[in-house]
């Protein structure tokens, strides 16, 4: 027995292939959407993994430092370092802001870190690590910066000395790493106009500007422009110690909250990504329905075009299930081409998306199964039409 479906496809192969291509692009979009979701989860995981931390210590009653703003004193880490079970503890700051290069600026998350401590990027793809204590930066390749370029963050110019990859915030903004002190200044020191304004206000306040106390005004202005806050302390727990146990110890300090890696994962994925995940889920459902409709329509049209042949086939003795099988095979063939084209397209255009698109092999397998099921269901419309054909119509008149 020959394959009727195969012969039919071969006969009008260009139409079939073109339809498959179109369907494939639609499936590719579906894969990409799923990849965007996976990418968002991976962004969050990468953010947590790359920090090298086991615990995140933040302001009490906040879900910081990523989900909520958190501000703690920069000397808190000393106390934490002294606790048993703590191997390393370091200050970090995070602030999403505009970073200028020449006349353009891009949105980036500026991270303040201490060299050799949790918070420093683990690996580079170009350049070197920061060696000077100020005004050097390591940027993610997604910023578009090159090694050697000068960028401006708030009040100072920084030289990009190294590049990293996959260092993004949970919002997808690329990261720029600078020394902690520079980052503190960038985050907490206001612009010149605001500072001048502040100084004037302080100077006109008679309680603060006392002629009888000559150094008072200067000391107050100095304390106003000083910045001794950070967003979080990253803690690495000593070998063999329980993260949760150390975190509990830290929480007993009344003004601090500590999250373990699992809790941070939960915060990022359940809270930050949840809405986007739902949105993407809806898109996936809609796209699947659209794909199913398209396959159903195409196969139905192809079947209708063969109604007379189907009547003849039925009359001369072809079984119903042979005809149904032909239609089903055509639908599955279309799905196969669509899947292959879709997977290839998604892989090719994935890197050009502004957000990270992660396509897992498991997703491809699941996608294949879904495409096959959808095609099977979509073919039922045409199969029903084919089965309803009365073979007697072949005998005209």
């Amino acid at each position: 027995m020959i394959s009727l479906a195969g012969r039919d496809i071969l006969q009008s192969w260009s139409k079939f292939v073109l339809t498959g291509l179109g369907l494939g692009l639609l499936i590719g979009v579906t894969f990409t959407m799923a990849g965007v979701y996976r990418g968002m989860v991976d962004d969050a995981m990468v953010l947590l993994n790359n920090s090298g931390a086991d615990l995140w210590v933040v302001q009490k009653d906040t879900l910081g430092p990523y989900a909520e703003p958190s501000s703690i004193h920069d000397d808190v880490y000393r106390g934490i370092l002294g606790m048993s079970g703590v191997a390393q503890a370091a200050n970090v700051t995070y602030l999403t802001m505009q970073v200028r290069k020449g006349s353009t600026d891009i949105r980036a998350m500026v991270v303040g870190f201490e060299p050799g401590q949790p918070g420093e990027p683990g690996h580079l793809v170009a350049g070197r690590r920061i060696t000077r204590s100020h005004y050097e930066a390591v940027a993610d390749v997604n910023t578009g910066f090159a090694v050697g370029e000068r960028i401006r963050i708030r009040r100072h110019d920084y030289t990009v000395v190294g590049l990293t990859r996959r260092m993004v915030s949970s919002g997808g903004d690329p990261m720029v790493f600078i020394a902690l002190k520079d980052a503190q200044e960038a985050q907490f020191l206001k612009d010149n106009d605001a500072i001048v304004n502040e100084r004037t206000r302080t100077a006109t306040n008679p309680a603060l500007n006392r002629p009888g106390v000559p150094g008072l005004l200067d000391a107050i202005e100095e304390s106003q422009t000083n910045n001794h806050s950070v967003n979080a302390v990253l803690v690495r727990v000593a070998e063999g110690r329980s993260q949760e146990a150390v975190a509990q110890e830290i929480r007993r300090w009344k003004h601090l909250q500590a999250f373990t890696r699992e809790q941070m994962e939960n915060i990022l994925i359940a809270k930050l990504i949840a809405t986007a995940a739902r949105q993407i889920g809806m898109f996936l459902v809609i796209l699947t329905i659209v794909s199913a409709a398209i396959v159903a329509f195409i196969i139905y049209t192809m079947t209708l075009g063969k109604i007379r042949e189907i009547a003849v086939l039925k009359l001369i003795g072809t079984r119903n299930r042979t005809i149904a099988g032909m239609i089903l095979q055509e639908a599955l063939g279309l799905g196969l081409i669509g899947f292959a084209v879709g997977k290839i397209a998604a892989t090719i255009w994935g890197p050009y998306f502004p957000r990270y698109v992660l396509l897992l092999p498991g997703d491809a397998v699941r996608g294949f199964a879904i495409v096959m099921v959808v095609c099977t269901i979509a073919s039922t419309l045409a199969i029903r039409a084919a089965l309803k054909v009365d073979p007697a119509t072949a005998i005209g008149g």
Partner: protein, 396 residues
């Protein structure tokens, strides 16, 4: 299904199908999580590393002077302005004397009066002295006469009593003189004080220098200790530099320095460390060093930001790797060794690091070892890798 080769349709379709399958296969193995991780490699080599320290600081004057009155008053005139060069002893400003002149005059008059009082007291003392001498002589004579029985005892007693009273009057007059003299001294001191106070309203330059600030204008009231002018010695400018405590090993007096002023970043100036402050900043965790200019720059202003690079002696024949190849497992630094196509994490001990990113390896590697420099992702012991020549980023 037979595919006869002569039919072009089958060939076209088959070609398409095969191409699709190949593309699918390529996609599966080349990208995504299954693909090998791209890395770049370099060899550890001996070389010279020039460690250096970096800090930022502000240009400040070694010594700054606050010129102001010692008592509250009103400013009468200010003779110099910001930027003027002054010499030591030069009159810079003057406070309003108010009633000080009159007080000096009154003290002078009082002193004059005191002098007259002294003269009067002296005359009185002389007078009392002469009376006392007379009374004493008289008393002697009468005692003599009394002994000879020429006069009655009561007359003698009377003369003795006169002598005593004359003595007392003399003592009193002398005391009065002493008092008047001390009074004169006091008045003299008062006068001196009033004069000095009046002199203090004149503000003189204590050293050669430049006026950096004019804080009170004529007519404004200032209290004791408030500054009217600020002065500093422009030749005493240095850069107060702050260096991270953790990265300040080797900081000592005499280190050669490169100073880059914010106002002229393209022309670094030479200098050297002249003092390392014994007290560090424990809040910001910084050490403070004073770096003097070898040659004072023109037009430098205090408060200007500067970047300071201190060069430590270079270490030659050190085993060097790029610092991008350092990875951390917990607190342990190490590198990924590339041996026979496999990776192995080798813990190392680092030494000095230069600003160019080369870091000295003291322990853990030998010359010629291949280490991973850049990698697309974090590496693990069993990661599949693919060595490429460069990963990303163009150097400008």
């Amino acid at each position: 299904m037979k595919i006869p080769l002569t039919l072009p349709r089958q060939v076209w379709f088959a070609t398409f199908g095969v191409a699709l399958l190949l593309a699918l296969g390529w996609v599966a193995t080349r990208s995504g999580p299954l693909a090998p991780i791209k890395v770049t490699i370099t060899r550890a080599a001996k070389g010279e590393v020039g460690p250096a320290l970096f800090g930022i600081g502000t240009v400040e004057a070694q010594r700054a002077y606050l010129i102001g009155p010692t008592a509250a008053g009103r400013v009468r005139r200010v003779l110099v302005d910001v930027g003027d060069t002054v010499k030591v002893g030069q009159l810079l400003a003057e406070m309003d004397p108010v009633d000080l002149d009159r007080r000096v005059a009154s003290a002078g008059a009082a002193a004059e009066r005191g002098r007259s009082a002294v003269k009067t007291a002296e005359a009185q003392a002389r007078d009392a002295k002469s009376r006392q001498e007379f009374a004493t002589a008289e008393a002697r004579r009468y005692m003599d006469l009394g002994r000879k029985g020429f006069i009655s005892q009561s007359v003698v007693d009377g003369k003795l009593q006169e002598q005593k009273s004359a003595d007392a009057l003399l003592a009193a007059a002398e005391a009065g003189l002493a008092g008047a003299q001390r009074d004169l001294a006091r008045l003299g001191a008062d006068l001196g004080g009033a004069q000095q106070q009046r002199d203090n309203i004149r503000l003189y330059a204590p050293v050669d220098g430049t006026v950096t600030s004019r804080d009170a204008e004529p007519g404004s009231t200032v209290i004791a200790g408030q500054s009217v002018l600020k002065l500093e010695d422009p030749n005493s400018l240095w850069v107060t530099s702050r260096l991270d405590q953790g990265r300040s090993a080797g900081l000592r007096v005499g280190l050669p320095a490169e100073i880059t002023l914010r106002s002229n970043p393209r022309k670094p100036l030479a200098g050297k460390v002249v003092r390392v402050e014994p007290i560090s900043d424990s809040v910001t965790e910084e050490r403070i060093a004073e770096v003097a200019f070898d040659r004072l720059p023109q037009g430098a202003s205090t408060g200007e930001m500067a970047e300071v690079t201190l060069h430590l002696p270079a270490i030659s024949d050190a085993l060097l790797v790029p610092n991008a190849s350092l990875r951390f497992r917990g607190a342990q630094a190490g590198v990924w060794l590339h041996v026979d196509g496999h990776l192995r994490f080798a813990p190392v001990k680092t030494g000095a690091e230069g600003f160019d990113g080369k870091v000295q390896i003291v322990e853990g590697l030998k010359a010629g070892d291949e280490v991973v420099v850049y990698s697309e992702r974090d590496l693990k012991d069993d990661s599949r890798i693919k060595v490429v020549s460069s990963l990303a980023g163009k150097t400008k």
